[in-house]
Symmetry: C2
Subunit: 236 residues, 2 copies
């Protein structure tokens, strides 16, 4: 796979969608909260609606209209907004709402993620370059046994992907040059931004990230350095 290129000294991974299944994870946790209150919300619709507020919330920060706040805060603001839209503002106590917001710390890894990361880790540094905070990524790693060497990404950069700082400052934090590092993601747009910063790129399709009817990111849209079907293939 690497015959034509330098083997990366470090691999940075997108996490939500690439390493873990956020949609079923958020749905499972939300379902438990709805059941406890005899609410009949569809948990997948709820997860999708919560996630739909993700990019607009980060865009305020990326555009410079708001200082950096960790994703846990944005998730909570988005949750409050969503609950209000669904007339559920008073359905949960403050403590319960805080706990529901921790759904993002309890997302199951895709079946190939953990063993694949373990294999890559034998010969290179592995780290998330996610929009999740250090706190979120740390707890998510403990939940799913993700064997990161360190946590990089938005909080290190104090800005959100796909802002160039998120990639460049993560690379700098390792004392490496962009061409020594590969960004791995299930989202073509993430790789477009990483490539523009000089990183190598690896694409993996996650065709059910958005559920059965997914229409985006089913295929690589550019000539990425590698295209894999399981994370562990990067170790070969």
């Amino acid at each position: 796979m690497y015959s034509y290129m330098t083997k990366p000294k470090a691999y940075l991974f997108d996490v939500f969608g690439t390493i873990v299944d956020w949609r079923n994870g958020v749905s499972d946790v939300s379902q438990r909260f709805f059941d406890a209150k005899n609410l009949e919300e569809n948990p997948h619709t709820f997860a999708d609606a919560w996630r739909a507020k993700y990019q607009p919330a980060m865009e305020k920060i990326r555009s410079g209209n708001r200082g950096y706040f960790p994703l846990d805060i944005l998730h909570r603001e988005n949750l409050d907004e969503l609950l209000a839209q669904l007339d559920l503002t008073n359905a949960f106590s403050e403590e319960e709402t805080q706990e529901l917001n921790r759904a993002w710390e309890q997302l199951p890894p895709w079946a190939d993620s953990v063993c694949g990361l373990e294999a890559i880790k034998q010969n290179a540094i592995i780290a998330p370059c996610s929009n999740g905070s250090i706190a979120l990524m740390t707890r998510l790693a403990k939940f799913g046994s993700l064997p990161w060497d360190c946590i990089l990404g938005a909080e290190i950069a104090q800005n959100y992907k796909p802002h160039p700082d998120a990639y460049s400052k993560s690379v700098s934090a390792l004392g490496l040059k962009p061409h020594e590092v590969m960004m791995v993601a299930a989202h073509n747009s993430d790789l477009v931004a990483a490539k523009a910063c000089g990183l190598m790129t690896g694409f993996i399709a996650r065709p059910t990230e958005h559920g059965a009817g997914q229409t985006i990111d089913l295929e690589p849209t550019e000539d990425w350095d590698v295209v894999i079907s399981e994370i562990g293939q990067l170790a070969q």
Copy 2:
């Protein structure tokens, strides 16, 4: 051990001296470099002299007289200064000097460190709160199989211990309050600073950190929350 206190949700560890044996590690790597050039420097004297430049270099940053630079840079500046003092400026090539500077990434853990950290990690977050950079701490962890959940400390805070930011910003990055976190160190001065920030404190003596004639930090100098003789005792 914890009957009178809340069990910490996270443990932050000093690393140089507390988790790893920096003096023998730096000495071993330096010895290889001296041998290759038929130099008869005493490697322990060399390690001690290099380390002696550590606090003054950080003090310029803590005092606000210099912006934050990662410890790898300070180590390199101190190495160049030391080699000059020993009339060894031209003894090593630039590439060799860079490699010698990486001695700090190759420090052996004390015998109880790895298994102790593994045990604590089952029920709490573990992270370094060191003056080492993310790059340095990440590579040191790979060298010694230190199973950190994430890397905190000076680079997260953009300031060096014992400045309060180094502790407070590390705690904040976990989304925790200071009273939920314990700082563990072999240096009483580190714990004085952590305690002032509201953290719990744990002391472990490392009586040979500075060699056989060590005179400091042989005993706890204050009534720390816990005093241990092996890291794994914190898991009990």
